[in-house]
Amino acid sequence: MPAPLKYDYPSASDEELVKWSQCGDTEAFEQLIFRHRDKIFARAMIMMRNEDQALELSQEAWVKAWQRLVQFQGDSSYTTWMTRIVINLCLDQLRRQKRVRVESIDELEEESGGVERLMPIIDSNPTAGMEQVELRRRIDEALGQLSEAHRTVVVLHEFEGLEYREIAKRVGISMGTVMSRLFYARRRLATLLSGIKRERSE
């Protein structure tokens, strides 16, 4: 679909913007960036926990998206496609930094029977009464307290919606490790968020 001379980009759908961008319309692409830049940056920030790196990787993701735009067939939403690109860049960066495999206290606990030992009943509603903005902020903090290995699995499963098998493939670990990391991460998150509840009641 050729881009018309002057479009009302802000009111166009993502699909239209993508099609015009595929024809080389940088204004349409800029509008896509403006629309989704926070989400893409947030995903990078949650993974990397470093603002400069997250900023750089999110921008690199947009450049890669521009270069590969012809490959986007619309099988998924544009944001899903974009988040996959930025997540892949983050995983590559983490591998380069050799930080994913660094043993943290979390991983040591997991390997020494953490799943078995640390599974009391999760508080069914650890954040009752908390406002959503505050809740999101606290969840971000809790994610920041997980090891990178555990956080990566949580992000890929809970935010990206990937199945165990796909996570195992993308991170380069076994499905059993995916399951135990996810279990331990959830347990830890529940504990951290329960702490918030106690803090608020004091």
Partner: protein, 149 residues
């Protein structure tokens, strides 16, 4: 089944990762085990909580600045793509020059080698009439010495 395996099985149930057969077995267990039901409920709650409250983080720079940096990288990528055919040709030419050089050296060496062999043969021819030669060969050292007088 060990307790830890059971917990991972329950998690897989919550995540919809079980085969129909295993899914059915877990449901049977849940019908009779209140602790397993509580675990499943706890896992569901924390999963839902995280999934529906993804941290809402904002790009820390202005729209214009963010876009300008991306645009610059896009332009650089485009420029490097545009010069790629030229650089490919240069790459080919870059390999051609040393290849021609090596070929030229081989030709020279070959010519000189032929000439040296001819010269050596003529030297031996001229020496044969009024000269003697002693050959010493050491098998253990793998050395052969030719003494020409």
């Amino acid at each position: 089944m060990k307790t830890s395996d059971l917990k991972l099985e329950l998690q897989a149930y919550v995540d919809g990762e079980l085969s129909p057969d295993r899914h059915h077995r877990v449901e049977s267990l849940l019908a009779s085990d209140s602790q397993a039901r509580e675990w499943v409920e706890g896992l569901r709650q924390i999963s839902l909580l995280v999934r529906t409250n993804e941290p809402d983080l904002k790009v820390p720079t202005s729209r214009e600045f963010y876009w300008s940096q991306i645009k610059r990288q896009m332009d650089q990528a485009r420029a490097s793509n545009e010069i790629r055919p030229v650089s490919t040709a240069l790459n080919w030419f870059r390999w051609l020059v040393p290849a021609v050089g090596v070929a030229a050296v081989m030709v020279v060496v070959s010519i000189r080698s032929d000439r040296d062999e001819a010269l050596l043969a003529s030297t031996f021819d001229s020496m044969q009439t009024d000269s003697s030669a002693v050959v010493f060969r050491s098998e253990s050292d793998g050395v052969t010495i030719h003494w020409i007088d």
